[in-house]
């Protein structure tokens, strides 16, 4: 049986054509509006309270809708957006260095390796400037110059200085801005907040998304919740790799459940691997910690030239025996090559047996030259907090011995397919932030995730959702509706099943093994043989999971193992789809590198003839091969070219 | 807490200055004691000023204790289940001994009034000659009185060290620099007051004053 079948192509019918600069304006004008008096009668469910979900819930509340917000954390403020370090891009051109909306648009399309939609990306660049204004008005303490104006820096290899930042905690500060706006709406009675609640199923009535099934994680109670529209802002699925820089609770369940109910899942194989993470210290490792990419501005990356030197202390390896491989292979960009290239180069040298540290999975990031050149105080001023963090985790002093770094899964560009209005293929189901696939193509630029999450939540969704809601109001639905009863029974059945297996392996042991398979075969470098093998391994492991998993306790009350079990079960299904997607895309692009498709000197080779499309996957039923629906990508403004950093 | 505390600190300063008159001599000390009773005259009749001051002080003490008690009760209510592993003090010991220190000080103040104001517990109890009362009090044979007095004064010192810092914070001191200054002030005032108060009994004990 083949792994997938191909269905009808899909098209984004909402994006206006014509001049790209006015598309967003024209769409806003053509969208129907909801009468203010009617907004009060409309309910919108928002799942997730990160930058996208938090800002959307707050803004919809301000507009007058009745909002029901859900998050699995104990407070909306703890969503994982909080961990973003670097910054947020905006085309303000405060530096007068040639930046513009068009340049941000151009850089983002190119950075995404020509696998994103031009219309969406241009809109993102347009609203980027409003985000900064909004955040400043909320009291987000961005870094400032002595004159009192906002400071910016250049980030992730761009040539303009357009990244606004708040020390290394930009995500935290932006999220607190959105969180505080959300709390204000909660106090005003416009938003009903449900923390420690997890969405476990989508309710569809007459073809429209009308509600969700949630489990109260504290009491274990399962309820059905209804609305006129459902917004998913549940983040990315990097935790399918077990080890990633995501928070432990990050999961795919909300989007995966929607996918099973008919929402297309687009480009699941596009995964971003970040080159500067602290390597694993052993098998006990539960997550990986990112260190700001800015370290590569002054640190030099190297490994020993000979594998037999790897066990020696770094100080005992003379200069001549060191291989500064990034500087050697990419003389023009050196240590500052883009994330995907730096990551793959690190993997290659480790595969050659020249990696350092536990398991040979690490490369040195050496500040000895920087300390010699700038002096220790200058290095301390620039990177002091990062060095401290490194020392806290590894117990090594990076002023004395070089840091060890290794790539780790960081962000997923794929997600539920949405049109220009951010609506999925299920009417009434909107998807925003990392949970959708829309703006980053095959690779996300640094400091663009925060921009996209807030653009969707503050400015895009609140303008587009009205066009859908204006077609209401919809028939009233309650817990007694057959669709609600069925969805609820599905959830209860799954929970009962997980609790009844009473096997001999823990949830984490399965998750860890799944992560191993994914990292090995669907990680930085993918091959046909590897992916085919991975699919088989995943299927076997999934069968084993449903035979042997052990979840103690019951469904009543707080049961963290049960929560994890449900999430891991969904990761199994997603993992298979990721591998199928990676297998079918026989080209390399952005974060997806197929060993079969590379230039003679080992760089990613796109195949625009065959693959200039979005791969949107339709769920065909349990055990059935998924259906591939292609959305063709057309480039009218930015013409595809091969990236080169030599 | 802060407002009543500040009143009490001001009283302690004046009281100490008065005490130090003992080094000038018996006549001066006794004269000072009598003068206190005539303070404010002829505007105020004899001892009126003193009674006004006593009223204000009583009000301050009661207010201080009332505030402390309500804070303590709130604290008790705010943590109904105690930690099994006793918390290690990381802030300052002075801050953590305010409540017991306050009780010790209260007991001392009661004793002190019975001793040197009303004279009930004083071996001499000659109201006209307080100098003699003091000297009798701290005579070497009554070392336990001196010991108790010393312990009480040291508690006051601890109490002041945190109390002055805390009062200034409550009244809105808000900078790092100011915080360092205030810690120094609190420590300085505590040390000076302790030294001032302890100088009298030790002077009597060593015979410097007799």
């Amino acid at each position: 049986m083949s792994l997938y079948t191909e269905g009808e192509p899909i098209r984004d019918t909402k994006a206006p054509d014509g001049p790209i600069e006015t598309r967003w304006e024209r769409r806003r004008f053509s969208a129907k509006l909801v009468n203010p008096a009617n907004k009060r009668k409309m309910t919108v469910i928002v799942v997730g309270t990160g930058l996208a979900g938090g800002s959307a819930a707050a803004t919809l509340g301000e507009l007058g809708y009745h909002v029901k917000s859900y998050c699995y954390q104990d407070s909306p403020r703890r969503a994982h957006s909080i961990a973003a370090q670097g910054g947020i891009n905006a085309a303000k051109n405060y530096r007068n260095d040639g930046d513009s909306v068009y340049r941000l648009f151009y850089d983002t399309v190119k950075g995404g390796d020509f696998r994103a939609r031009e219309s969406n990306v241009h809109r993102l660049a347009e609203v980027s400037v409003n985000i900064i204004d909004q955040a400043v008005a909320q009291g987000v303490p961005f870094a400032r110059e002595y004159g009192g104006l906002l400071d910016t820096r250049s980030f992730g290899g761009t040539q303009v200085s357009r990244t606004f930042y708040a020390r290394g905690q930009t995500g935290q500060q932006l999220l607190l801005g959105a969180y505080q706006a959300l709390e204000r709406q909660i106090a005003a009675g416009n938003v009903e907040m449900n923390a420690r609640h997890e969405m476990l199923e989508l309710i569809i009535v007459d073809g429209r998304a009308r509600g969700i099934v949630v489990r109260d994680l504290v009491t274990g109670e399962i309820t059905t919740e209804f609305a006129d529209a459902v917004v998913l802002a549940s983040g990315g699925y990097g935790n399918v790799f077990f080890l990633s820089t995501n928070a432990k609770g990050c999961n795919v369940t909300a989007t995966w459940r929607a996918h099973r109910k008919g929402a297309l899942f687009a480009n699941p194989c596009y995964t971003q691997i970040h080159p500067t993470c602290i390597p694993q210290s052993g098998d006990h490792q539960s997550k990986l910690t990112l260190m700001s990419e800015s370290l590569r501005n002054d640190g030099r990356v190297w490994v020993p030239k000979r594998a037999e030197d790897c066990g020696k202390p770094a100080a005992d390896i003379p200069e001549d025996d060191r291989d500064y491989y990034l500087e050697r292979i990419y003389p023009a960009f050196g240590n500052l090559v883009p994330r995907d290239i730096a990551s793959r180069a690190a993997k290659n040298v480790c595969d050659e047996g020249r990696g350092v540290g536990p398991g040979g999975l690490g490369v040195y990031l050496d500040f000895a030259d920087a300390i010699k050149r700038l002096g220790r105080p200058a290095v301390e001023a620039k990177y002091g907090n990062l060095f401290e963090m490194y020392e806290r985790i590894t117990g090594e002093d990076p002023y004395q011995v070089p840091m060890r770094i290794y790539p780790a899964v960081h962000y997923t560009m794929g997600g539920l397919w949405v049109d220009y209005d951010l609506q999925s293929t299920i009417p009434g189901l909107f998807v925003i932030g990392e949970a959708n696939f829309s703006d980053h193509g095959a690779n996300r630029l640094g400091a663009s995730a925060l921009m996209q999450g807030l653009a969707d939540g503050y400015f895009v969704l609140p303008n587009t959702i009205g066009d859908y809601l204006a077609t209401g109001s919809f028939e009233k639905v309650d817990a007694g509706h057959p669709a609600a009863i069925e969805a609820r029974q599905q959830v209860e059945g799954r929970i009962a099943k997980l609790l009844s297996i009473k096997g001999d392996r823990t949830v984490d042991s399965f998750h860890r093994e799944l992560g191993h398979i994914m990292w090995e075969y669907c990680g930085m470098e993918r091959t046909e043989a590897g992916l085919t093998k991975a699919i088989e391994l995943i299927r076997n492991l999934r069968d084993e999971f449903w035979q042997r998993v052990r979840v103690l306790g019951d469904g009543e009350g707080l049961n963290q193992a049960l929560e994890r079990a449900g999430r891991v079960a969904d990761f199994f299904e997603l993992a298979e789809l990721m591998c199928i997607d990676a297998l079918h895309r026989e080209e390399s692009c952005g974060g997806h590198f197929r060993a079969e498709s590379q230039t003679p000197d080992g760089e990613a080779q796109r195949d625009d003839e065959r693959f200039s499309y979005v791969a949107a996957w339709e769920y065909a039923g349990t055990g059935e091969p998924p259906v591939l629906r292609k959305e063709d990508l057309n480039f009218e403004y930015v013409h595809p070219s091969q990236r080169s950093y030599k | 807490m802060a407002v009543t505390g500040v009143l009490l600190v001001l009283f302690l300063v004046v009281h100490m200055l008065g005490n130090l008159k003992i080094f000038v001599g018996a006549a001066a000390f006794d004269h000072y004691a009598h003068w206190l009773r005539d303070l404010g005259s002829p505007l105020l009749p004899h001892t009126w000023y003193l009674w006004i001051q006593r009223a204000v002080l009583t009000f301050a003490v009661v207010g201080h204790i009332w505030a402390a008690t309500s804070l303590a009760l709130r604290a008790k209510a705010a943590r109904p289940v105690k930690y099994a592993h006793r918390a290690k003090v990381q802030g300052s010991y002075a801050a953590r001994t305010m409540r017991w220190g306050g009780v010790i000080i209260l007991l001392f103040v009661i004793y002190h009034i019975l001793d040197l104001t009303t004279g009930n517990l004083n071996p001499v109890a000659d109201k006209a000659h307080p100098y003699a009362n003091v000297v009798a009090d701290f005579a070497p044979g009554r070392w336990y009185v001196t010991l108790f007095y010393t312990l009480a004064i040291l508690s006051i010192g601890f109490h002041l060290r945190h109390g002055i810092f805390s009062a200034l914070r409550t009244l809105g001191q808000q900078t790092e620099k100011g915080q360092r200054r205030n810690r120094a002030i609190a420590l300085g005032v505590a040390v000076v007051l302790c030294a001032g108060y302890l100088s009298v009994p030790f002077a009597v004990l060593t015979g410097l004053v007799s």
Partner: protein
């Protein structure tokens, strides 16, 4: 390393709860504290005993979820460090480690080491924001902010709302948390219009939630993983006195 853990086990909000001893063996010094508990939980699951429930999420010291009192100290012995960033190399072979939840009336225990910190959200709801509906914002550069103010506001804004300040406070007070937000917003020009009402309403919500009063004991700032300074409480007090004077 081999360790003895004494962990607070409590089945639910109504259960009385007690300390239970566990031996853990072969602990690597490179493990984080939570990874050591993960290991214990894997073993407990296989032995048929329910794993220890504890809050955690980002495991990189920023989300504020993790919350354990370790040997009597909130977040354990290492300064400026959350529980998730604490590593086992801080301990020695043979140690006994007591692990308890945050203890406060305003933070009732849900299960084992998990508490409900919703009271903090309530304090923010009372006024911990600047009212700036989406779309209403003026151009970001229209109001310059002196760098010193912006930096000090930032220092206060780094609070992660973990609740260690409450856990450590001898009075069970949430004043450092409240003061950090008052300081952050009060130092910025955008925060001025609501400055008076903010402090009055947030303090009322703080007291309402059942937190104790502040006696400036300073335990909070000593355990705060983000080093929020005690001076923020002075700012809160000053704002409160000013606001009270105007009413």
């Amino acid at each position: 390393m081999n360790l003895t853990l004494r962990v607070w086990r409590q089945k639910g909000p109504q259960d009385k709860g007690r300390m239970v001893s566990y031996q853990v063996t072969d602990v690597s010094p490179d493990m984080s504290f939570l990874e050591m508990l993960d290991m214990l939980n894997e073993r407990l699951t296989l032995e048929g005993e329910e794993p220890v429930a504890f809050d955690h999420d980002c495991r990189e010291g920023i989300c504020g979820a993790c919350s354990m009192v370790i040997n009597g100290t909130a977040h354990g012995p290492q300064k400026l460090t959350t529980t998730c960033q604490l590593h086992m190399r801080t301990f020695s072979d043979g140690d006994t480690i007591d692990i308890e939840p945050w203890r406060a009336k305003a933070f009732p225990v849900i299960k084992d080491l998990v508490v409900n910190r919703g009271a903090f959200d309530k304090i923010i709801q009372a006024g911990g924001f600047i009212s700036a509906p989406t779309g209403s914002a003026p151009e970001a550069h229209s109001t310059p902010v002196p760098k010193a103010d912006a930096d000090e506001a930032f220092d206060a804004a780094t609070c992660i709302a973990c609740g260690a300040c409450v856990a450590a406070c001898p009075n069970g007070s949430g004043m450092l948390f409240t003061a950090a937000k008052i300081t952050h917003l009060g130092l910025l020009p955008q925060g001025q219009p609501e400055r008076d009402s903010r402090v009055v309403n947030m303090l009322a919500a703080h007291d309402e939630a059942g937190f104790g009063g502040c006696t400036n004991a300073g335990e909070c700032t000593a355990v705060c993983p983000k080093g929020i300074p005690l001076t923020t409480i002075g700012r809160l007090n000053r704002d409160f006195i000013k606001a009270s004077g105007k009413r």
